[in-house]
């Protein structure tokens, strides 16, 4: 299971990387969203899957699955949500001011 | 510690039936010709599938652990409430955004009500916000 999950994560990372390398702002933002999916899965997978019970003491008996990565991922999810919201707004504000959603035309002037 | 094996088995069977229903709806979603018909498959039969399997799970928990799960019941209620509304809204959106009916459909009476100023089926010329590409792949 872990191996397959990691292969899946690899593909997600590749896809996201490809999107990030593109020119359109929305594509890039989507890329970052997929990147965060990938890394959340990665943290969980590396911590070991299906190795224990749900980490609820009243619900299940020991052994429990590793709860720490879950807490970390939760934090990471919220942070990446915050950042995504910010970037999205930034993107449409840029479109409002520069009338472009293409990085090619958002290069800025050449300096001398 | 099965409290009530019959109930438990009923639950499992309900789930199985539910999954079969869902395959049926999947079949529908492939085979049916246009969005309006496909949404039948998606909302009606798949809602039924969910209801069945949730009921099954509810029964199972009840029978197996003696656990009367209000949350599942709530969930059932919820799906019951929302699925038709969702279906309604999406079909309305589809119609208003000018998705064509499948060929061979009968009368389209609503068309004259909604787009009185237009001739027949110039579909994608709607209000400006949604552009044509939205409905393309």
């Amino acid at each position: 299971m872990e191996t397959m999950m990691i292969l899946l994560i690899g593909v997600l990372v590749s896809v996201a990387t490809y999107l990030i390398l593109s020119k359109n702002v929305i594509r890039v933002i989507l890329g970052t969203a997929i990147l965060s999916h990938a890394v959340h899965l990665l943290i969980l997978t590396i911590a070991g899957v299906k190795k224990g019970n749900v980490p609820l003491l009243k619900e299940a008996e020991s052994p429990y699955t590793d709860a720490l990565p879950q807490a970390l991922i939760l934090t990471a999810i919220v942070i990446s949500f915050a950042v995504t919201a910010f970037v999205l707004v930034l993107a449409f504000r840029i479109y409002q001011t520069s009338k472009s959603d293409d990085f090619e035309s958002l290069r800025g002037q050449k300096y001398e | 510690m099965s409290v009530n094996p019959i109930l438990e088995w009923t639950g499992v069977l309900l789930i199985l039936v539910g999954s079969l229903m869902s395959v049926v709806s999947a079949f529908g979603i492939i085979r049916l010709p246009d969005i309006y018909t496909r949404s039948h498959a998606a909302t009606k039969s798949s809602t039924l599938a969910v209801l069945l399997s949730l009921l099954g799970a509810f029964l199972y928990f009840w029978a197996h652990d003696g656990f009367f799960s209000i949350r599942i019941l709530l969930g059932i209620l919820f799906v019951f409430l929302t699925a038709p509304v969702a279906g309604h809204l999406i079909c309305r959106a589809a119609y208003r955004s000018g998705v064509k009916l499948a060929e061979g459909s009968g009368d389209d009476e609503l068309h004259h009500v909604l787009f009185p100023d237009k001739k027949d089926d110039d579909s994608s010329n709607r209000s400006s916000t949604i552009t044509k590409e939205e409905s393309l792949l």
């Binding site: 990030i20 702002v25 890039v28 933002i29 970052t32 990147l35 965060s36 890394v39 990665l42 943290i43 590396i46 911590a47 720490l68 990565p69 970390l72 934090t75 990471a76 942070i79 915050a82 950042v83 910010f86 970037v87 930034l90 993107a91 504000r93 840029i94 001011t97 520069s98 990085f103 958002l106 800025g108 300096y111 001398e112 | -």
Partner: protein, 492 residues
């Protein structure tokens, strides 16, 4: 008592939130933010004294002992940086009062600055690697908001690039964290160090350390500095100064911390790589600093050179070079803030961004012109200003390590720094003025005084280097001997 350790983080956050409620009371906002920074300076001085007296301080949040809970660890190195960061922020705030404008002030400028400094301070002091990530994010989010604050075209454009590149960096950070937790099974930095030492830093761990190198190099602008010139040249002057002084330094701090505390076993891989990267960084920075006539570009590439210079000290990692790095880091924070403020003021005064379109500023603003001269001298590492102590020590470290080519590049870079600013000085500050007396834009005292204060700081830091030496020596001792840090964290 130990709760004092968290104050540099929590005080600005709480005050920042209070300021949100006081959106339209600008005077109150100014006063409160000023008081906050002053109290931070006071707190960090108290902390420094405490550390000298009784060793490294530690605060376990919620009372959960390391390695299970999160701890803040205050050693001399961290607190020195907190102190300097607070001073620089204070001064930039004073500058902002007269320059930033009411629109910014009502748009939560002060809360954002306070949040950013909280993130910076947190990153300096945290002893937990995941908490470092979170502190980074606090700092970054605030910096995202600050860089885009103002909403003009160029600002938004550059901030998008800045944000996206940092998102990428944060992603790498998370990946590295995943690997780290997967291998070492802990998050406390001292505990990480113990575990790495226990099993030896094998190839896989070194790979992970390289991943951290990528992350922190991005934040520090070491080799991967592409985001820096663009994004540092768009925000308002006070913000740019804060960025130039603080943001890359956090990355540098993290690099130094990581590669002296945890991954110090394979210097032939990691440190050599850092050394090479800093050489390339310096060269690229030098090229950039003389490539453009746009003032903010000149300044931004100067930041790049500074980064390379500091991290050379880490690359060779001898006692004296690390000590030099600490000195230089402190110097760089102050001098870069000053440079940014001066350049921003020049641009505001003339309405031009290119220095070859300015001339003769010294005629109307003599003191200002001399302040530029001072910062130029200081950055070139000419005594008695602050740059020279660090420069000497790093030089010493490079000689000890027998990396003479690196040495040559490092020291030649200070000539290039001098040249890049000298031509600005000769063109823009000296020369014939085209503005007749009476027509010049007035230079507000509120903008001159902060620059003057920074000049005093750079002089004080250089001339009074002895005053800091015991702190710096203590900081170096902790860096060089990870056991001291580990003991302070894991004991009890």
């Amino acid at each position: 008592m130990n709760n004092l350790v968290v104050m540099p983080l929590v005080v600005p956050i709480m005050i920042g939130i209070v300021l949100v409620f006081l959106k339209n009371h600008i005077r109150v906002q100014r006063a409160l933010s000023l008081i906050t920074m002053l109290s931070l300076i006071f707190i960090s001085i108290v902390l420094l004294e405490n550390i000298q007296a009784s060793g490294i301080m530690r605060l376990d949040f919620g009372g959960w002992l390391p390695p299970y809970g999160i701890s803040f660890v205050a050693d001399s190195f961290a607190i020195l940086l907190v102190l300097i960061a607070s001073i620089v922020t204070l001064i930039c705030l004073i500058y902002a009062y007269s320059s930033i404008g009411e629109r910014h002030e009502k748009m939560y400028f002060y809360p954002f600055v306070l949040f950013m400094i909280a993130g910076v301070n947190g990153s300096f002091m945290t002893g937990d690697i995941f908490n470092l990530f979170v502190c980074f994010e606090v700092m970054l989010l605030a910096s995202y908001a600050l860089i885009a604050l103002g909403g003009n075209k160029k600002q938004l454009r550059e901030s998008l690039k800045y944000v996206l590149i940092n998102v990428l960096a944060s992603w790498f950070f998370l990946v590295a964290l995943a690997f780290l937790y997967g291998t070492l099974g802990t998050l406390n930095m001292a505990h990480l160090s113990v575990r790495v030492a226990e099993e030896g830093q094998d190839a896989l761990l070194t790979t992970i350390s390289l991943l951290f190198l990528v992350v922190f190099a991005l934040k520090a602008g070491l080799l991967l500095f592409f985001w820096l010139p663009g994004s540092y040249s768009v925000p308002p002057t006070a913000v740019a100064a804060l960025f130039g002084a603080l943001l890359t330094k956090v990355g540098i701090y993290a690099l130094i911390r990581m590669f002296t505390l945890v991954f110090y076993h394979k210097p032939e891989v990691t440190h050599i790589l850092i050394e090479g990267m800093s050489v390339v960084t310096i060269i690229a920075g030098c090229l950039g600093a003389i490539a453009y006539k746009d003032l903010r570009q000149v300044v931004a590439y100067n930041v790049v050179i500074g980064v390379g210079f500091v991290l050379m000290g880490l690359g060779v990692a001898t006692d004296s070079s690390l000590q030099g790095s600490i000195y230089y880091l402190m110097h760089d924070m102050i001098a870069k803030a000053m440079l940014f403020l001066i350049v921003g003021t020049m641009i505001n005064l003339t309405g031009e961004k290119r220095f070859d379109r300015m001339s003769g500023l010294i005629r109307h603003y003599p003191l200002f012109g001399w302040l530029f001269f001072i910062v130029m001298i200081s950055l070139a590492g000419i005594p008695p200003f602050s740059g020279f102590v660090g420069k000497i020590l790093i030089g010493q470290g490079l000689i000890e390590a027998e990396s003479y080519v690196v040495l040559a590049i490092a020291f030649f870079s200070s000539v290039v720094v001098l040249y890049s600013l000298l031509r600005v000085f000769l063109q823009a500050i000296f020369g014939e003025t085209s503005v007749s007396i009476g027509d010049e834009k007035p230079l507000p005292k509120g903008q001159l005084i902060p620059i003057l204060l920074l000049a005093c700081c750079t002089f004080g830091l250089g001339f009074g280097a002895e005053g800091f030496s015991s702190f710096v020596e203590d900081a170096t001792k902790t860096i060089v001997n990870p056991e001291i840090y580990i003991q302070a964290v894991l004991e009890k």
